[in-house]
């Protein structure tokens, strides 16, 4: 692709365009039909007024007041939770790969898969049961002399929602990032040590750069997931964390406002646009982190 020293057989990259796309056809057909087609329907509807006329008017409210505020809150929440989730998830992945037995690690995978998919009323309930005013942890800490509700903390706040999100963000990170840590070969650390480098140098110069592309990918996944998750925030609080998908839910599937689906659709398209922008940043970061991997 770029350097002349590449020695790999031509067939690997050369091939005609057709032969590259062909094996991907089932994927494109599947996502095209079950994903893009419905999304297009939503996008087209967002460009229509309530009388069916073509208009951009659904998009104008997005740039003001409460809708803009919802976008900001959504981005803030997903950023904070994906930073926490990715760092702690990576830590867990490291500890497990490094110190746990294979069997234990397999069980943790199963737990993580289920946790990563949890949300809504049951999850909200678990955290209230643990950290609510009458929660288990709250009571235990109180007997130990620490009243967590003495100050401003409540589980029904932004901080609380961030805590609850950790419940699925960390396991998600753990699950998708573990293979990357497992892919670090022992020989690299040994070679590094043998060449006179400390562990710190090894992490700085080899391990972290090696893990970076996977980390960025996983981080983006967490960001996107956090951006669109809403059931838990909705089951826990009352507009404390106004998220775009909650508003979309109210507009598209609510009891109160009739005939504002087009605005909901516009919000959905707005989310896709935000994600698209994040995606560009992600691809750029991914590319620069994975220079050494492209042939």
């Amino acid at each position: 692709m770029k350097s002349g020293v590449v020695e790999t057989p031509k067939t690997a990259q050369g091939g005609r365009l057709g032969s590259q796309v062909f094996p991907l056809l089932p994927f494109f057909a599947f996502t095209g039909y079950f994903l893009i087609w419905p999304v297009l329907a939503v996008t087209l509807r967002s460009l229509r007024g309530n009388e069916g006329e073509w208009t951009f008017s659904n998009y104008t409210p997005l740039l003001h007041g409460s809708y803009l505020h919802a976008f900001v809150t959504s981005i803030k929440l997903s950023l904070v939770t994906s930073v926490i989730g990715s760092l702690l998830g990576a830590l867990f992945a490291f500890v497990v790969v490094r110190y746990a037995t294979g069997r234990f690690s397999a069980v943790l995978d199963s737990i993580s898969a289920v946790f990563a998919n949890s949300g809504g009323v049951p999850l909200a309930f678990m955290f209230i049961a643990a950290f609510g005013t009458e929660g288990l942890v709250t009571r235990v800490l109180k007997t130990l002399g620490w009243d967590i509700y003495a100050g401003h903390f409540t589980i029904f706040s932004f901080t609380g929602v961030v805590m609850v999100y950790s419940f699925f963000q960390i396991p998600l990170m753990f699950l998708v990032f573990k293979p990357a840590i497992g892919g670090l070969r022992k020989e690299w650390l040994e070679a590094s040590t043998n060449l006179g480098a400390t562990q710190l140098t090894y992490w700085r110069r080899v391990a972290i750069p090696m893990l970076m592309p996977s980390f960025i990918g996983a981080f983006f996944l967490l960001f996107a997931g956090g951006f669109s998750a809403y059931a838990t925030a909705r089951a826990l609080t009352v507009g404390t964390v106004p998220l775009v998908p909650i508003i979309i839910g109210t507009l598209v599937d609510g009891n109160v406002v009739s005939d504002q689906q087009n605005l909901g659709d516009a919000l959905a398209v707005g989310m896709i646009i935000v994600a698209g922008v994040a995606m560009v940043g992600y691809i750029w970061a991914q590319k620069s982190a994975a220079k050494w991997r492209q042939s």
Binding site: G239, S258, D259
Partner: protein, 398 residues
């Protein structure tokens, strides 16, 4: 797996096709019940019950069992007529109901919907005309002259509370007392959830505000938040059980159900209609979709819900085998009274009082004497939502 899947698809498609076929046969054989617009035109109660029983099924949608005593209504209906009820997505919304009528495959279309009034107004063309026997008793404000939709029941905003708290609230003003610290909650974001919106209207009225502007209501919550009494927890059964809050603004028509549900989980809950303000909600609206898959059952269900009879309940009813349709119908309690028992205000309540056909409401659900009762109009609700969108985040956020 692929083969199995294809078989599945084919089987499901066949099943659906046969369903469509049988339903058209049943209507073709006898009268076309999807066209008759009142009981007489349908051939009377005996014929209607017979046809409904032949259909054997009723599709309802988004009816929580503990909402407005619908659990009792459904149980009684099934026991009395032997018609199986399928309740699609009991926790769903009005928008979901409309969406389903519009897009669901034929066999899954609901036979009757119970939606917020704006949804009915915006989708009149989805519904068929059918005027129930008690049509005249329905308040004129809340019915379509052509009979495509009409109000069924409403509720008032009550306070529900855990009886273990030191001081029982009697009014909205009471909740400002420091003894309610970390205790008061509402059922959602008021700019998007009906019950929460009505909570703000109620607080507004109690604080001396007019329904044209809910600013006083917003200020009420702001002061509760500042004093630490208001918790931004969502009021629902599970959160209540976990101790997230002790007092909530709740629809009266969910009271008896909620009290029983809480008791099963070991909590004693009481409902009280506040002495300083009563907000009556806009009635929910009943309608029969023109493409209802069980047209006779749909009509029978509607007649049942608007019946003012006082008779057997699902607990007291015996076998109805061999009884004529009209005999069964007149022997069981009607929907209007079932709603009263559920703490709701049925749409024909005033007429029932005049005719003395109403049963006694459970204790504590009566509206205190001398209190002004207000129902916010749709325009007032829209204005309130706009105000709340701007101001609510500052209250709920932190």
């Amino acid at each position: 797996m692929r083969k199995q899947f294809i078989i599945g698809v084919v089987a499901a498609a066949l099943a659906a096709a046969s369903l469509v076929a049988t339903s058209s046969v049943s209507t073709a054989a006898g009268k076309d019940f999807s066209k008759c617009q009142n009981l007489k035109a349908c051939g009377g109660m005996d014929a209607l019950v017979k046809a409904a029983q032949k259909e054997g099924k009723l599709n309802v949608i988004t009816l929580p069992r503990d909402w407005a005593n619908y659990g009792e209504a459904m149980d009684l209906f099934t026991k009395a007529f032997g018609i199986k009820i399928t309740d699609d997505n009991p926790d769903g919304s009005s928008a979901y109901e409309i969406q389903t009528v519009k897009t669901a495959p034929a066999s899954k279309v609901p036979d009757a919907v119970d939606v917020g009034i704006t949804y009915a107004l915006d989708n009149t063309n989805l519904f068929t005309s059918y005027k129930v026997e008690n049509w005249a008793d329905i308040t004129a404000d809340y019915k379509d002259p052509a009979g495509r939709w009409y109000g069924d029941y409403a509720g008032v905003m009550a306070l529900s509370y855990d009886t273990s708290i030191p001081k029982a609230p009697k009014s909205f003003a009471d909740l400002k007392d420091p003894s309610f610290k970390n205790m008061v909650a509402i059922g959602g974001d008021p700019s998007g959830a009906q019950e929460a919106l009505m909570s703000v209207f109620a607080a507004n009225l109690a604080s001396g505000g007019s329904p044209d502007s809910v600013q006083s209501g917003v200020d009420y919550f702001k002061s509760l938040k500042t004093s630490g009494n208001f918790v931004t927890a969502l009021a629902n059964g599970q959160n209540f059980l976990a101790g997230a809050y002790k007092v909530a603004f709740s629809w009266s028509f969910n009271g008896p159900g909620a009290v029983a549900t809480a008791a099963k989980a070991g909590k004693t809950v009481k409902y009280v209609i506040p002495s300083d303000a009563v907000i009556k909600g806009t009635p929910y609206v009943m309608a029969i979709p023109f493409n209802a898959p069980h047209p006779a059952a749909a009509r029978l269900w509607t007649e049942f819900l608007f019946s003012q009879n006082n008779g057997k309940t699902s607990m007291t009813i015996g076998s109805t085998k061999g009884m004529t349709g009209s005999k069964i119908f007149s022997s069981i309690m009607g929907g209007q009274n079932i709603w009263i028992l559920g703490g709701a205000l049925p749409i024909t309540f005033d007429a029932m009082v005049a005719k003395k056909t109403n049963v006694t409401a459970p204790e504590g659900y009566g509206i205190p004497k001398g209190v002004k009762v207000i129902t916010p109009t749709v325009a007032q609700q829209d204005a309130a939502k706009t105000l709340l969108k701007a101001q609510w985040p500052a209250i709920a956020g932190n």
